[in-house]
């Protein structure tokens, strides 16, 4: 029996920056069925497109995004900023065979102006991010993708922020989501996974208007998230286990074996 389904699920669940580690584990666990590793290309493709993998084109220092929104099919993707298309190997995450790809069509001007405005915003708020703007759905809509990664495996943590927005010029609506994924794994395994839907409408219909809305939605979300950490800490966490008993003293264990609930339990309570 093949275990491709289980192994593919492991790939899909790989934390930010740890895909190679997960693949190494998979190879050892499946050493009795080595053919399985050769069948993982679809799982890698799904991972790369969903996680917005980034790749530097040969001769360029700017990372470009891999997503279903800039796929040309057959493992080729395009990038608007550099006006190029390229082959992407999903298993090795390497780009090759770069060719000129000039954007044309009804949304070309909106795509370029959005790219410029989103670029200004991204540079102001992301120390290390890749982004892209693409015409999608037969040139009827515009997709905006932002991905920021920070990997610190020496300190046992990695993080990823992904944003995706779809702008519909016919209705002026902007629909999207922000997803945060943080993994901490020093003597443990702690994971933060969030998904915040965003709905807005852009009255101006301009690239600057789109970038402004994204900027304000993401700022608002990050502020809400920071408040969310505080309310989880003060709420659910505090309610699960007290830091100290009500008496604010540790337990006097020598007494505990001889005492029952409702009597003098916490150390020092008799002094109150």
């Amino acid at each position: 029996m093949s275990h491709l389904e289980e192994v593919s699920a492991f790939i899909e669940g790989a934390p930010p920056g740890e895909l190679n580690d997960v693949v190494t584990d998979i190879k050892i666990l499946t050493q009795n069925e080595p053919e399985i590793v050769d069948q993982l290309a679809p799982a890698f493709e799904k991972y790369n497109e969903e996680q917005f993998a980034t790749v530097k084109l040969p001769g360029s220092s700017q990372p470009v995004v891999i997503s279903s929104h800039n796929s040309l099919g057959g493992g080729r993707y395009f990038d608007v900023e550099s006006s190029s298309s390229f082959d992407f190997d999903h298993t090795t995450q390497a780009a090759s065979n770069v060719q000129s790809h000039v954007l044309e069509g009804a949304q070309a001007d909106l795509v370029k102006s959005t790219l410029k405005s989103v670029g200004t915003y991204v540079n102001e708020h992301y120390p290390n991010a890749a982004f892209g703007v693409y015409p999608i759905e037969s040139d009827s809509k515009v997709a905006v993708v932002i991905v920021a990664n920070k990997y610190s495996p020496n300190n046992f943590w990695n993080g990823r922020w992904r944003s995706l927005y779809i702008y519909d010029p016919s209705s002026g609506s902007l629909e999207g989501s922000v997803k945060v994924d943080v993994h901490y794994y020093e003597d443990g395994n702690v994971r933060l996974i969030t998904n915040k839907p965003v709905h807005a409408s852009i009255s101006s219909g301009t690239g600057a208007g789109i970038a402004k809305e994204i900027s304000s939605a993401e700022r608002k979300y990050q502020e809400e998230l920071n408040k969310g950490f505080v309310s989880l800490s003060e709420g659910a966490f505090k309610g699960l286990r007290r830091q100290l008993p009500v008496t604010r003293q540790k337990i006097e264990w020598d007494k505990v074996t001889g005492y029952r609930l409702g009597q003098d339990l916490g150390g020092g309570s008799s002094k109150r």
Partner: protein
């Protein structure tokens, strides 16, 4: 290259994949590598399940240490549920699992430990369920202290806390060498305005200590203090990682303030400091 033990790879994988779904991941690994089944079930901590004691009506917690096949021993009645087959190993074996019940002396300590940690649970958790299981070792005894508390449903946030403290007590005359391995599994989630948020995981810490022992009650007090200190330390650690570290990493990914203004402010500060030095 030396061959890597598949068990180590399985543990590494489980340390990386979403901790909230550890049961699913373990089942998948077991289907791929059935040889690892027993080792994984014995060494990977999973959220505890609750059962009600038929004799006392009180709730108790289930784990590998009070299990024999599909039966679990209640710490309140000392009986397995469902009952073990007559003529089975039950009562003969004094080690952990496999129908083990502790020897009379160790069972006496187990009863006292359950009473003591019931008080501990009420003082620190103000609810929840606790269970303590002891078993004999050749040169002492061992045990596990379990605590579980779920937040009251409703409201915008929910949480479940599971504590699993496994210890060995190696008796050496007037002192005993205690070795404690503690895991806390903490799953939190929040909804409403924030969208979906899940903050879940587990952390493990170990410590070893020699402590004086006068009588068997000293053991309960020693284990009590070790667990109490460990939980205080781990609660602080969880708070730091879950709420401090997670927020800091998000802040490293995206800056709420403008990066160029931040850089300008730092430049100005450097100039001021430089000016003072002149």
């Amino acid at each position: 290259m030396a061959a890597v033990d598949p068990f180590d790879s399985a543990l590494d994988l489980l340390r990386r994949l979403t901790p909230k779904h550890v049961a699913t991941h373990i089942n998948s690994i077991i289907s791929i590598a059935p040889d690892l089944t027993e080792d994984l079930l014995a060494s990977v901590d999973q959220p505890l399940t609750i059962k009600r004691c038929r004799d006392s009506g009180r709730e108790y917690l289930l784990c590998d240490y009070n299990r024999d096949g599909d039966s679990y021993r209640s710490p309140w009645s000392n009986k397995f549920d469902p009952p073990l087959d007559v003529g089975g190993l039950g009562g003969v074996n004094e080690g952990a699992g496999e129908g083990a019940v502790p020897s009379e002396r160790v069972r006496k300590m187990e009863i006292k430990a359950n009473e003591a940690f019931d008080i501990y649970r009420e003082l620190y958790y103000e609810g929840g369920v606790s269970s303590v299981y002891f078993w004999n070792l050749d040169d002492g005894f061992a045990g596990v202290v379990l605590l579980k508390k779920s937040s009251t449903p409703g409201g915008n946030s929910e949480g479940v806390w599971d504590s699993i403290h496994v210890f060995e007590a190696i008796e050496r005359g007037r002192t005993t060498h205690y070795k404690l391995t503690s895991t806390v599994i903490l799953n939190l989630s929040s909804s409403a305005d924030l969208g979906e948020l899940d903050l879940s995981g587990n952390m493990t810490r170990q410590l070893e200590q020699d402590l004086p022992v006068d009588n068997d009650d000293s053991h309960i007090a020693n284990v009590g203090r070790l667990v109490e200190d460990m939980e205080l330390k781990m609660r602080n650690l969880l708070q730091e990682v879950y709420f401090g570290k997670a927020r800091d990493v998000v802040g490293d990914l995206r800056s709420i303030g403008s990066l160029s203004e931040g850089a300008r402010a730092r430049d100005q500060q450097r100039e001021v400091i430089g000016g003072l030095g002149r």
